[in-house]
């Protein structure tokens, strides 16, 4: 396998996580857990598999939510769910998945884009992110190592969620003093 090659999720699906997860409540800033780096996890541990299922369930019931990280539900762990399927800005998509202990190992093609966050509900910000990334992680429930190569919106979502796992919000990365915006409410 060459460095830039996507090895995909293999036969992993959310079915690996077993029973349907429960919906947890999403915390909003300011709260300490959102600003602390999460712990490495054992992807086979029961509580981690349960957390993964809960993140997927919570993401699914949250309108417009394309990713959710463990610190957002109050757990200081390096676990997050992503699903950018069907989003108009999506290029490559790996569907619905959960990653543990993920890290960005390659990043290129930096672009500015506006992003929001369920944990910062009333603000959005312009953030420079790589539009092509290689991410290494392990999958919950199987412990399989994965190497995902992706781009565009999925790449942005992965970096946003990995930041959550490092205790970073998009507010820590906005591009300038005027790069935060009150979320627009259209009547």
């Amino acid at each position: 396998m060459t460095a830039g090659q996507d090895c995909g999720l293999g036969d992993w699906t959310t079915a690996v996580l077993g029973d349907r997860g429960g919906v947890r409540s999403v915390l909003t800033a300011p709260v300490g857990v959102l600003s602390r780096a999460g712990e490495q996890v054992d992807p086979l541990a029961d509580d981690v598999v349960r957390l993964a299922a809960d993140l997927v369930a919570t993401m699914r019931v949250s309108p417009g939510c394309v990713g959710l990280a463990a610190p957002q539900v109050g757990v200081g762990a390096r676990v997050f769910a992503v699903d950018v399927t069907g989003h108009p800005k999506t290029l490559t998509s790996h569907g619905t998945f959960v990653l543990c202990n993920a890290e960005v190992v390659e990043a290129s093609r930096w672009r500015l884009g506006r992003e929001g966050c369920m944990s910062v509900p009333d603000l959005t910000g312009d953030v420079k992110r790589a539009s092509r990334v290689v991410v290494q992680a392990v999958l919950p429930g199987t412990g399989a190592a994965v190497r995902l190569v992706t781009d565009g919106f999925e790449a942005r979502a992965l970096q946003h969620e990995i930041d959550h796992c490092l205790g970073r919000l998009f507010l820590d990365r906005v591009a300038g003093a005027h790069a935060v915006y009150q979320r627009k409410v259209y009547l």
Binding site: P30, V120, A179
Partner: protein
């Protein structure tokens, strides 16, 4: 040529900028630098213009503010203040629970390092207070400053990051 510094502040409504710009155009004012934003629903505009005298500009703006709650100030200022860039551009992000003294404590730390603020925004969003500041730092001071900011932020129980503001020349 002497310049005028003008501020217009009040409850927002459509058309304030058009009214102000039109009034100033009628007395031959040339708007140079200006900025306008909304702060918790209040219209806030600051501008520099050249052309009219202070009293002429005040007279031109009088009808705009006469019937409403807008407040305009006009003040003559010297020619452009020459601000020589003193160093490296950095961006500071701060967020945490709203409390008294966040801005004063952290901008004081910046000032003590010789940092010069060039742009500042604060937003209160529910219980969350956000401060973003662009600052020029004397070369070689960023690392020490980051440590002192972290200490001040810990006392205030807020999160602070200081990072280089890169501007790509294209």
């Amino acid at each position: 040529m002497s310049e005028l510094a003008i501020t217009v502040i009040g409850p927002d409504r459509p058309g304030i900028v058009a009214d102000v710009a039109e009034a100033l155009a009628e007395v031959g004012a040339n708007l140079t630098d200006s900025t306008m934003t909304r702060l918790r629903g209040h219209f806030a505009m600051t501008l520099i213009c050249v052309g009219p005298s202070g009293p002429e500009a005040e007279a031109a703006l009088a009808p705009v503010v006469a019937d409403g709650p807008l407040v305009a100030t006009v003040r003559q200022v010297g020619a452009e203040a020459t601000s020589t860039p003193i160093g490296e551009p950095y961006l500071m992000s701060v967020h945490g629970a709203d409390r008294l003294g966040i801005v004063s404590a952290l901008t004081r730390v910046l000032a003590e390092t010789g940092g010069n603020l060039t742009d500042l925004t604060t937003r209160l969003s529910g219980p969350l207070y956000v401060l973003l500041a662009e600052v020029e730092l004397p070369p070689g001071t960023a690392e020490g400053l980051a440590e002192r900011l972290a200490e001040a932020a810990a006392r205030l129980d807020v999160e602070v990051t200081l990072r280089r503001a890169d501007s790509d020349m294209l």
